[in-house]
Structure formats: C-alpha cells, structure tokens
Subunit: 493 residues, 2 copies
Amino acid sequence: MNHFQSNIFPMRKLVFPGAAEWIVVGGRDMFPTATRVFRAAGIRQIAVIGFGSQGHAHALNLRESLVGSGIVVKVGLPEESGSRQKARAAGFTEKDGTLGETFAVIAESDFVILLIPDSEQVRLYKKIFAALRLGAILGLAHGFLLGHLLSVGEYFPDNISVIGVCPKGVGTSVRLWYEQGRETNGAGIPCSIAVECDLGGALDVAIAWAIQLGAPLSSFTTLRKEFLSDLTGERAILLGAVWALAEMAYRRFIELGFSEEEAFNLAVESITGPISDRISRHGGLLGLYSGLPGSEQKIFARAYVSVYGPAKELIEDIYASVESGDEIREVVERGNQLREHPMERVDIGEMWAVGERVRQNRENFEKVIDPMVAGLYAGIMMAQVDVLHDHGHWWTEVCFESIIEAIKSLNPLMHAKGVGFMVHSCSPTAQLGAKKWGPRFMSSLWGDVLQDFSNNPESVLGSPLFQLFVGHPVHSSLATCLELVPKEDLYVG
Amino acid sequence: MNHFQSNIFPMRKLVFPGAAEWIVVGGRDMFPTATRVFRAAGIRQIAVIGFGSQGHAHALNLRESLVGSGIVVKVGLPEESGSRQKARAAGFTEKDGTLGETFAVIAESDFVILLIPDSEQVRLYKKIFAALRLGAILGLAHGFLLGHLLSVGEYFPDNISVIGVCPKGVGTSVRLWYEQGRETNGAGIPCSIAVECDLGGALDVAIAWAIQLGAPLSSFTTLRKEFLSDLTGERAILLGAVWALAEMAYRRFIELGFSEEEAFNLAVESITGPISDRISRHGGLLGLYSGLPGSEQKIFARAYVSVYGPAKELIEDIYASVESGDEIREVVERGNQLREHPMERVDIGEMWAVGERVRQNRENFEKVIDPMVAGLYAGIMMAQVDVLHDHGHWWTEVCFESIIEAIKSLNPLMHAKGVGFMVHSCSPTAQLGAKKWGPRFMSSLWGDVLQDFSNNPESVLGSPLFQLFVGHPVHSSLATCLELVPKEDLYVG
C-alpha cells in the first residue's frame, strides 16, 4: 500500500487483494493545473537533456502541453552531438534559444530532465550535479543513476530535489499516444512516479510532469524499487528468459519432428502472438490457462510446475545481483568496452532466419497456443511476480514490470521485428543483462525443466504449487492494471 | 475416485485435482462389441416402456444400433395410450410384433427399460416388479424410483439386476445427436452409468446400453447419487434459483431506472446468452470472471461473496430435504393432485411478457454481461458445486448437474423459448421443486443478499471466501468435463 497523497491533483484508489494503491488521474483538462504547479514551484525553464527516443518525446510533449504558459522547454545537447539536427528539425533551435549546450542549459534551468543513456549518466553525473542550480529539480526517467550511486557508496547532492517519472513504454509510443490523446482528453502512456529527494512540493511537480507528458494515469514507486524491478525484469521474463524459452522450445519441436517453420510457429510466434494476446485481452494469465481445453490444461500445469521452482531460484539470484550492485557495476564496466567492441547480436542461430521467413508468410500459419510453451512462459512470469512481490514491490509495479511490459510492448515488438530487433532496441543495460542471464535460463530449461516436464503426471494440476497459481492475487491485480492502459499495444511499429 | 472397470470396453482415466475417475469411451465402432455383450447376457428382446421424449429416443437409437443383430427392440404402452400412434409412425407396430401392451411386453423381455413419468413409476412399480422375469435386467434413466423406494422403506426385488443409464440431455437431443453421429463415429449425448443390483455382468450391459444409445463417453454414478444430485440441482441452480435470480435482477434494474427491455436484457438475457456462452466456451466460471475488466471483477466479487453463504445454506436445506425423502413424498402426493389441478405457470409476471418482446427484437439489444448478475449466478452455482462435492458426489456428476446441464441445455432452452417453456418442459418432479424453492431463493436474494452486495467493499476481492472461488478445483474439473461433450449446446430447438 502506498500513502502518496496530493492535495492538488485528483487521485483514485485501486483496490488489490490485501492492499490498495493511490494513483493519479491525468488528462488534458488537468494541463492548466499542472502549469500552475510548475509556476508555483518557481519553474520558468525546463531542460530536456538528450534527444533520443525518450528525450524527443518528453521535449515535444511538454512543449505542446505548456503552449501559452510562458514556461520554456529547452533541449540540451553537446555541441558536436549528431542529435542536434533532429532537435532543430523538431523546432528546437539555437536561434530561438530552445537548444543549447548540455551544461549551459542545465545551469540556467529550474527543472532538469536527464534523458541521456545510463552509461553517459554514470560518466557525467558529477559534472551534472555541479552544474545544477541550488534548489533545482532533477528529473529522471528511471532509477539506474541511483543504482549506480548506491553501488559506489554515493548519493545525490542535498541541495536539489530528485524526482522520477518513468513511462511504461518506449519513447516512440510516449509521443504517439500523446498525439492521439489530443482528441480524447489525454490518452497516453501510463507512468510510475517517484520522489527521491524533496526540498518541498516535489510530489506535485512530479505529478504535473507526468500529466503534461500525457499520462492518463500514474502509479507510484521509489527510484530504488524502480531500478530493482526494471533490471531484474529485463534479465528475466522481459528479455533474457523469453529469449531462452524461444530457443529451447524451438529445438524441442525440431527434435519432435516438426518442420523448421512449424517449430518456430509453435515456439516463438505462439508467445509473441496468441499467448500475449490472451493475457492482454482475454483474462490475463488465468484466462490463458482457463481458456485451454481440459487436456491441455493438464499439459500447461505440468510445464508450469516443472519451471516455476528453477525459474524462481534464478530470478532470486538476479534480484540479489541487482541489489548488491554487481549488475550495475558490470554494466558500467562493460559499457566502457562497448564503445570499442560492439555487442554480438543474439539472433545469430538458424532459427531466427526461419523466423524471418515465418513472419513474411504469417497468413499461412495457424495461430496456435502450445500448452507446454504457455505453461513454461506463465511459470517463469509467475516466478518473477512472486520474487518482486516478496521483495515488497507494489502491485502496479509487479504487474507492469513482469507482465504488461511483456505482453503489450516487448512481445508485440518481437512479433513484428524478431528477437534481435527487440533485444537490440533496448538499452545496453538491458542487452548486457539479457545476454548474461539468457544462457542460464536456457541451460535450466533444456535440462531439469524439460526432464521434470516429461516426468510430471497430469495430477500436478491438483498440486498445492499449481493451486497457488490458480488462486494467485496477481490475477485480479493484473485485471485492475490492464484497465489503466490503452487497449492497443503500447508498442506501435 | 470411482473404481469401475470393464474388461471388455475401453476406458479412459480422467485426472481431477485430488482424484481421478474412469470413464467409458463409446463410438459406433463399439456397436458390435456392445451387441456381443447383450447376447452373452442372454438378451434377445429389449423392452422400451413409454414413448415420451426419452422413450422415443431410446427405442429408435437402440433399434438402429442393433440392426441385423437379431435382438428385438419392442415398445410397451397401455392399450389406450395416446402415444401408440406416435410409436406406429416411428415404425413400432403391433403387426410386426414391436409394439405391445406394457405388462405383456415386460413379461416377455430380457431387458426392460422403464421410461414412463416418475409418478407413473411410483403408481405402477409393484405391478412392474411382479411382471419382470426372474433374472431380468431393469433399466432406469434416472434414480427417482430408488428415491421413492427408500422414502417408503422398500427396495428392488432381489431376483433382478437394476442398472441406470442417465443421458445428460433431453430426449430430443439424445435422438438428434445420435443421428448426427452417423457420420462421426458416434457423436451423441454423454451419459452417467449406475449399477444398483447385479446378478452378474450388469456393468457391461449398462455400458453396452450407453454405447448403443450413442453416448460417446459415459461417466459413473450410483442411482442414489443420481437422484440426490438431480433433484437438488433442479431445485437450485438449474431451475429454481435461476428463475429467482432473473426475477430479482429484473426488479432491481427497473428500480435503478432502466427501461423494461433493458432490464430484461441485463437480468435474463445476460445469463441465458453471454454468461452461459462464456462458461461454456471461454474458460468456465474462471473465464467468466477473469474475462471481466478489473473494475467489474470487483463488482463480481462483491456479488459472489454476498450470495454464496445464503445460497449454500438453502442448497444444504434442499439436499437434506431430498435425502430425507421429503421432496420425493411431496412430489408423489402433489403428483396425484396434479391430474385434477394442473400446475400454475411460473411466467405470469409482466417481465416475461417483456421477455417475449426482447426475444423477438434480439438484434436491437447489445449482448452484455452485468457483473452483479454474473457474480450472483456464479455464487449460487459454486454453492451447489460445494454442497454436492461435500456430500461425496464425483466431479463428473458435480460438473454436469451444477454447470454443464445449465449452460449447455437449460439456459439455451430458456434463451430460445423463455423461462416458462424451460420450466414446464421439465418433469413434474422438477417443476414442483422449482416452484417450492424458487420463492425461497427470491426472498433471500431480494433481502440480505442485495443488502450485503451494496455494503461489501471492493476489497472482498481479496477475501478468503473469494480466493476459494478463484483457486477452486472445480475449474479444471469443468474444463476436463467440457471436453467430453459436443461443442454445440445439448439442447437443439
């Protein structure tokens, strides 16, 4: 249960089993209120540092939401940055004073939104902290920088406020949904909001930021919870584990005598297509299970029971490795090498070439859900749900980082463009994590899990472990969260 | 767990949570085996006594299955019976010796299938028992006669075998599905099989009967379990309670300001249409619940929690009243009066006239599931599931008598023809029971249940009572049973 309360913005109580969370309701009709909050906080200029996918979306959305307010949105980039041309094309120019050099812009702004890559944040944060005005507000879109500071025994300076607004989708959709929201009072991407350091009024500034970014609804988290769940999730069900499951299932179906195309359809397309769709639009994980014929429910249960334990152990290891700072230190170290030795692609096996062919002839393949694949996928997903919930993450974050981001954002992306595109579209932090942990999932799946699956009797359907799945409180929590997001996928290709 | 085993017929093990049941697999390819079993049991003539909906179906299906076997199927009817003309039209004639007087046919047959109304069975059983040959086999299509015998301290004579084959659908569909099964190796109506008295080989004769009747799959029960669950079910969710819920919900929606047509659509059409359809084809009761949007899941949970307790108490009362013999004695007594004073119809309120209009303009009404109605319906259904299961009924019977008969047979009938047609199509035993218990459900629903529903907070979604629903073993049991029945509704209008 969170206890965040704003006296300015309307809030809504979400009831989850055994808990409740307050969330913020956005919408275009709230833009004037948000503008007043910015003004009351003394904000005259907002800096958007970086003009990548998120930077672009934040800069354009905020500028549009603040039209006529007198508050300036200014983009900060290095003099030599290749993104300068993109920023100018979007109407941020040196000439009219809305595009400037990174540290100059930071020094002259009241509210600085830092949207440069994790590795750049780590490289530059001392200089950035030094450049910030006394009493300025630093805005982050996720918790990595805090994770790094903690891993090296440092912290934010004590003369600034630090807030987070973390969109639950890629930058492209943050912009696209905002544009569609012009007609619908602010359809947009939901965010999670965090207040890390508060010199006064920071919560309302964070909410105002989320609203002007277009978030129709925002939940709450802390920056620490955010980086723990984010890094854990991408190493597990979001990227690392789903990649491993796809490779394992493909090999398994080949072994069973299926053609390459059929194997790909059963192993990969089923996850990124009908399984994601069922979870997303037809009753969540419970709907995925209960919608199967009775005999297939038993196969699902056998797969679920065989994978849940090993997956939970692995995800606990991941969580511990993130919490200890090891994952972040590795990313920082490897990040330095990456400039010279680019990462190897993950989609180099033959199956991904097969996938390319299947995607191009999709109409020839039946949409099927293989119950073993569905049970394995659900088992890993639930293991992550339980790890995050056991560590005190709130239901909105558990659902978004373990389920909704997978089924509405990443899997549709993988469905459209393949696993390589999906993995390599993500941050180096995510890619490195997936490449480290994916093979561990693979060896577990291909070994003990598959063996257990073959040995498990149908009667595991009635086992306590599987009954915990069926009666799990995440099912109604997910349904509540799914109502908060647009019905369409958050990824728009 | 049942322990029935045939050494002749193929059996299949169904795995349910915490239990298993053996069932028999039928199909037209098994007809010759079934014929050999009849012959080995010394059966040269099968009597079908009665030519109503079930008598007609049994006589025609058995005659067709036994073509060329030399085993005669002969219909027995009183000399003055109005059904004689129907029998003759179906090819059972006095001239070729396949139609005769009831007791004469009984006396000359090896296997006598008794398909006359319950009240007639009660009036005539002494004469029937006396007419049966020594060592004959008496076949029943449900357990009412045993219930009556127990209620008056009597039993079957000890020189006959008594078996039951109870089709899980009305006689019309027993015949129609058999006809469709000609092309598909025996699509037909599933049955439950009981062996009450066994002078030797009775189990295999019962299985042979079910197979030649067209049952693609048959589960097992006892005649006692059968009449207990049958009479309880029709007094509760199948007829009495659904009628009460429809009346209560209609009045409630009128009170809330809906038009008569809208109220009928929300209160009645939603149950007989989309709610039944979801349970039947989209994941059972769990699919009904998990397919609702999150906010409606909370309304569903509030309704479920408010109705489950009172409904369970009422259904326990019904079960006790059936078990004590009271219900059966009442039916027998009232049955005698009925010949002079026909039963009042149940569909005399204004709402059923509205229903007639709605059915005729169905395309103008949106198919909607009202979450309160769905939660109340599911709560009563689950109360019945729990009462039957607590009393030791096996999962196949629990699922058929509490859920499948409702969603695949009776509700579709009510959807097509209205509540009056549904109730009055059923046996007088069922009608009398529904008319007795319906008003008790109504007063409970309209009183405490509605009050509790209004007072229950959304957080009951996380209550232990509701978590028992979500994690209930009936969900996977139902999915297993639903795979045994034809995908289409068992009622064909």
